[in-house]
Structure formats: C-alpha cells, structure tokens
C-alpha cells in the first residue's frame, strides 16, 4: 500500500474520533436548531401578545376616525379617547400600554405621535397602519380590493437560464439556502484545514516529524494529510446533507422553513467548489503549519484566512440587489472569495456558465500552485524549530533551486546547497 494512504487513513480515523470534530458535526447543527426554535417561539409569542391581550388608545384630532371601522380579519384593538389627558391617565394607570395621537393636519402630513413607557413593536405599527388604511379607504373597497392598495407588487423572479423560480413568499428560504451552503462550506473547510495545520504544528513540536520523514517523503506526508482530512470534510458534508434533507422533509410544518429546497445545480457546484477550495486552503494551511513557531501563531493565521473567506458576506445586500454587479464579478474571480461568492450569487440569481468555468479554472490553477509551493516550503520548514522565518525567506525557498535542503542561509546571501 502506498504510504500516502497510510497517512490519509490515520489522519481520517484519528480526527474522526476527536471531540472537536464530533462537536462540529453534531453539536453545531443541534445548537443552531435550538437557537432558531427559541427565536421562533419567542417571536410568535410576542406576536400573540400584541394582537389579542392589549388594547391601545388613540386620540383623533383630525376627524379621520370619527366613525371608526375595524379592518377585516383583525381584532378590534384600538380604543378612542376624547383628549390627550384622558389617554395619558389611562396610560399611567396601565389600562393601556400605549396611545397614539393623530394631529389636526394628519391628512396632509401623515404624522402620528405615539406615547408609551415601552417600545412600540413593528407588529403594532403594522396593525395601526392597517387600521388607518381601512378607515381612510372607506368606500374604495367596492372599486378595488384593499389588499392591492396595501401591497401593489408581489414579485416573482424567474432567472431566465437557471429555471429556478424565486417568489417573495419564499424570501426567507431564498436567503436561507445560500447562507446555509456558505455556512456549511466555512465550517467544514475551517474545521478540517484547522486540524491539518494543528496536526503539523504538533508533530513538529513533539519531534515525531523526524521519525515520519525518515520513514516517508514529506510530499507523501503532506498529500496523505490533505486527502485524509479532505475525506473527513466530505464525511461532515454527508452527515449535514442528510440532516438537511431530514429537516426539509419533516420541517414543512414550520412556516419559516416553507419553500426551502436544495436545488441540484447548486449542490453540484457546491461540491466541486468545496473540494477544489478545500485543497487550496488545506495546502496553504499545511505550508503555514510547517513554518510557524507555535500553535497560537498558527491559529492567528487560520482566523485571518477565514476572515478573507467570509468577505463576500459583507456584500450580501449587493448580491441580493444586483448579483451581476462589478463587485460581485470581481469577487467571483478571486480564488479565496470565489466559492462563497458563487454560492451567494447562485442563490439570488443566476451565474453564467462561462463565469463558473473561469472562476473554477482560476481556483484550480491557484490550488495547484499553492500545493506545489507548500510542498517545497513544507520540506524546508519541517525541521526549523523555534526559528522565526521571514516572508522573503519563504519566497526564496519557493523560487530557488529545485533541490531544497534544510539549510538556513541567513544574511550572508550565499546560494544554498547542491
């Protein structure tokens, strides 16, 4: 058996049993679902409170609500007070949690003052608007449905070449899918390449590296680790994918999960980009792991890398508003931001095939280069214990003669060995 696969097998099995991996695989999704569940319950709970239990006061100085009607399908939750003093008295005696004042010139300005000790929820604001609308538009219902005044546009987006239909009704799902993909991508690539770097730093620190590289070549070690941990990342994806499928299957009763589906084209693109950029990240992390002085230092590099990866998140609104903006295009063709950008863009619109192909090609080329460079730095850096290595020195190793020993020529500038 090729020794590379021995390393891969060992890395896979050892890290599979690690507590931090098990937590990432099972703990994070469970935790996320619990948080969502709690948020969901709290939200529906507070909605109920607003609509049923409390009555709110209003003082109408404009005459719009002289003979008030209650909008269809809504409870009667607003009570008129003759003047501000009586409304204030009711507020102070806690009979009402809030009251609104419509000034004389309300029809011209649309201004409404609210008085309360607590904050005014957005549900309450919506309810007040409906209440006012129902009264302002009285008589119009005969000519047109009130709902059209309230909501004149319900947009259905049909990206011409993706075949996916995006409606505003499933907007939460719309944002959800790319976010889930991005999250999964970040989590698993971070966890696995973090393990990779940590493992190398540890093996250097406890000197087992010397035994390893007198048994196998550094390249076998590097590739074995990358493949083993890549398989681990795929395992994580499969488990999360299964969990996701189950959630979609049994989660249809939750309104906020309605309309979520995992489009096949996105899945395919996701897996391809995941694998390629995993190779990029992992080999980069391995190269860094081979030259940093300590575990702490390696973590700093790791967090810097993940920060670069999440850059596309900062432009989320840009992607939603205009998935084909120049910024989105630029991020599509930068190797480190490409996977996330593509996923987000695919969720909100469609990405032309040529862009996918070009982005993937750039990503592949970069990955090959980084693997090649890392292998060189890896061989050279493995045995440099506790020495700080400058960036320029690393560049010199990458570009210098093909036969690299582990010599450290400092400032003397003489060329290195045969």
């Amino acid at each position: 058996m090729n020794k590379m696969w021995l390393v891969a097998r060992r890395e896979y099995l050892y890290n599979l049993k690690r507590r931090s991996f098990l937590f990432a695989v099972f703990g994070v999704p469970i935790f996320t679902f619990i948080v969502w569940g709690v948020v969901f319950l709290v939200m529906s709970d507070s909605d109920n409170k607003v609509s049923t239990e409390n009555k709110y006061g209003y003082v109408d100085l404009s005459g719009v609500l002289a003979d008030p009607v209650t909008p269809k399908d809504k409870p009667d939750q607003f009570v008129a007070y003759p003047d501000e003093q009586s409304a204030r008295a009711a507020l102070d005696s806690k009979a009402i949690p809030a009251y609104f004042v419509l000034p004389k010139n309300y029809l011209n300005t649309g201004e409404v003052q609210s008085y309360s000790y607590d904050s005014i929820s957005s549900t309450l604001k919506d309810d007040l608007a409906s209440f006012l609308l129902a009264n302002l538009s009285r008589g119009l219902e005969d000519k047109l449905p009130l709902e059209r005044i309230e909501e004149p546009v319900t947009l259905t987006i049909r990206p011409v070449d993706s075949g996916r239909v995006l409606t505003e009704a499933n907007l939460p799902a719309l944002i959800f899918i790319p976010l889930i993909f991005s999250f999964v991508f970040l989590m698993s690539s971070n966890v696995t390449s973090g393990f990779l770097m940590g493992g190398i730093v540890e093996e250097r620190a406890n000197r087992i590296m010397e035994i390893l590289i007198t048994s196998i070549t550094p390249f076998q070690l590097l590739m074995g680790k990358i493949f083993g941990l890549g398989a681990l990342g795929l395992t994580q994806l499969v488990i999360w994918g299964a969990a996701g499928a189950l959630t979609v299957r049994f989660g249809q009763s939750f309104p906020f999960l309605n309309g979520i589906s995992f489009p096949v084209d996105m899945m395919v693109v996701f897996v391809i980009f995941f694998l390629v950029s995993y190779f990029l990240l992992a080999s980069l992390m391995a190269g860094i792991g081979a030259i940093v002085g300590s575990e702490q230092e390696s973590r700093q590099f790791a967090s810097l890398l993940s920060l670069i990866l999440v850059i596309p998140f900062f432009f989320l609104t840009t992607f939603i508003n205009d998935p084909n903006s120049p910024l989105a295009l630029a991020l599509t063709f930068i190797p480190f931001t490409a996977p996330m950008t593509i996923l987000l863009r695919m969720g909100f619109g469609s990405v032309p095939i040529w862009q996918l192909a070009l982005s993937l090609a750039i990503l592949l080329l970069t990955s090959f280069f980084v693997i090649w460079a890392s292998a060189r730095v890896f061989r050279w850096g493995l045995l440099l214990y506790g020495k700080r290595i400058g960036f320029r020195e690393v560049l010199r190793v990458i570009w210098s003669s093909p036969e690299i020993g582990v010599s450290l020529k400092s400032d003397s500038g003489r060329t290195s060995n045969v």
Binding site: V7, N206, R207, I208, I211, T217, S407, S410, N417, V418
Partner: protein
C-alpha cells in the same frame, strides 16, 4: 566509497549561516558493529546523524547508507531514535506503534504482532492500551526505542538512547541493543556516557567543533593514550622499587599512586619486585590506560584552548 560499509561518509560539511556545524568529516561504520559518536554538546553529532538520514542535506560531500545514497526504499531498513523524543501523545501505545511500523513497510497485522511481542519483552504489556501521555518518561523512552527497532531494520541510528533512563531501564535497553547487534544489525549511537562506550562499542568517532578528533577501535584509542605507567594502591615505598622513575599521587578518587616506569622496565618486573618486597602491601595494581572519559576531557580541552 566502500559499498560494503553500513555507512560511508566522505568529506561532508554543513554550515548554518556563518557557523560551521560540520567541517570536512569522513568516516565509515562497519556492518554489524556498535559505533559510537562522541563529542561535547554542539559538536555536530546530531547534525551529522540528520545528514546521514537525509533530513538535512550536506553543503558538500557524499554519504552512502547501506551501500548507496539514501533512497525511500532504504528508509524502511533504517531505524532512528531522535535526540528529542518524538511520540504522539494522545494516542494509544499500540496504535501508535502499529502506525509508525506500517510507515516503515510492515503490514498492519505484522506490525501489531511485533508491537505486542516487543511490549511483552519490555515488560509493558499492561501499558499497551494506555495513551502515551499517561506513561512515565522512562516508559516513553522504551516505547521510543521499540518504535526504532519494530520493523527489524539493518541499521539503527540512536541519538543519546540512555539519557533520562534509570539504571534498571538502562540495562533493559542495553540488552535490546546487544540482541539487535547479535542478529547482525548495525548501531550508530551518540552518548555522553563514556563507560557505556567502553562497555558496548566496537569503534568510535569523536568530533569537536564539527571536526574529527578521534576515530578508530575503542581499544586502540585507549592504548594510544596509555602511559608507560602503573596505578597502585596500598602501602609501600613505591619510589624505591626498581624501574620506577618517578611517582605521582592521583588526585581524584582514593589514595592511588601513579608509577612512571623507565623505558626498558616491564609491568611484570615491577609486579615481581612488589611481591618480593616484604614491607609492601598491595591492594590494587593496574595498567595506566586512561578511561575514555579522561581521553574525552583531554581532547576537548585541548581543542578549546
């Protein structure tokens, strides 16, 4: 280059920046011998070992291991015990031994079998399922050595194998080294314990500042440094004995005296003279062959002065 040698080193040099760690060093290690590499700290022993193992590359010079420059296939026939011990800490002992054994070309079942047999021999069967981090330092050291010989290599290179071992464990390790040699294996060993070199090693190389200071069979080197003198302990008028040119008290240790002999005098004639003299009482009579320790100190102090 001698292809029958276990290791053949020809004029290797290695510098770190302006520091010359190894300076034009040449030597050979014969098959089946225990070869000692000696020298003060920082002399270049570990650097030389790492160059033999192709962890480091020499700036100049050639190295052949088991007949040819080191290849990946040759690596399976070599065992290495690094100076600073390297073991996985959070892994079960047997699991780690099997992994490192398979990296040396053993099958999993074979590696498993040999690991258990070695642990049994080391009296560590109970520790097989424990994690490495739970073991004492001495135990870890024994495991480290077990890893070095697990794949039954032809050559092992062990960097200070005895450091940190108590006398009992030193004995266990010594036994293992001897039985490795009996099976035809070659050992290259660096150590600071000269008594072990005298006791175990066939030949030695001593380096200081990266240069060869002494090289050859251990007995030859001791004889080379031998004085025409005798060490005695007891009572008597030593200076009056025939053939004794001068006497010199020995400072260290007990009240021994060094007798310098005249050029033609043999040790036998001195012994006969002592036996014939009624007022001389002898407790110790020994050839003044210096210990390796004395030679080591003499050589090192000679070079640093």
């Amino acid at each position: 280059m001698n292809s029958s040698a276990a290791i053949s080193v020809v004029e290797i040099s290695k510098s770190y920046g302006t520091f010359r760690a190894v300076d034009n060093l040449s030597f050979e290690v014969h098959r089946g011998e225990i070869f000692a590499m000696l020298g003060p700290n920082g002399a270049g022993k570990s650097t030389t070992m790492r160059m033999i193992l192709d962890i480091l590359k020499p700036d100049t010079g050639q190295i052949a291991v088991l007949g040819a420059p080191l290849t990946e296939a040759t690596k399976d026939r070599i065992g290495y015990l690094p100076e600073e011990r390297g073991l996985y800490r959070n892994v079960k002992v047997v699991e780690m031994m099997v992994y490192l054994g398979t990296l040396k070309g053993l099958s999993r079942t074979e590696a498993q079998k040999r690991s258990l047999a070695l642990l049994d021999r080391l009296g560590m069967t109970d520790q097989a399922k424990k994690k490495v981090s739970e073991l004492s330092k001495g135990m870890q050291q024994k495991i480290q050595f077990a890893v070095t010989v697990l794949h039954e290599p032809d050559l092992i290179i062990v960097d200070e194998p005895f450091s940190g071992l108590d006398p009992v464990n030193s004995l266990v390790l010594k036994d293992l080294l001897f039985s490795f040699k009996e099976r035809g294996g070659t050992v290259v060993m660096s150590t600071h314990q000269m008594s072990q070199v005298e006791e175990m090693c066939d030949r030695l190389l001593m380096i200081s500042h990266g240069q060869q200071k002494l090289y050859g069979a251990v007995e030859d080197i001791r004889q080379q440094y031998a004085l025409h003198a005798i060490i005695v302990e007891g009572q008597g008028n030593w200076a009056a004995l025939p053939g004794v040119e001068s006497i010199e008290p020995i400072q260290n240790g007990r009240k021994a005296t060094l007798l310098h002999l005249a050029p033609q005098t043999t040790t036998d004639s001195v012994l006969a003279a002592i036996a014939a003299s009624p007022d001389t009482h002898i407790e110790r009579f020994e050839m003044a062959v210096p210990s390796l320790n004395d030679i080591f100190i003499r050589v090192v102090e000679g070079t640093s002065a």
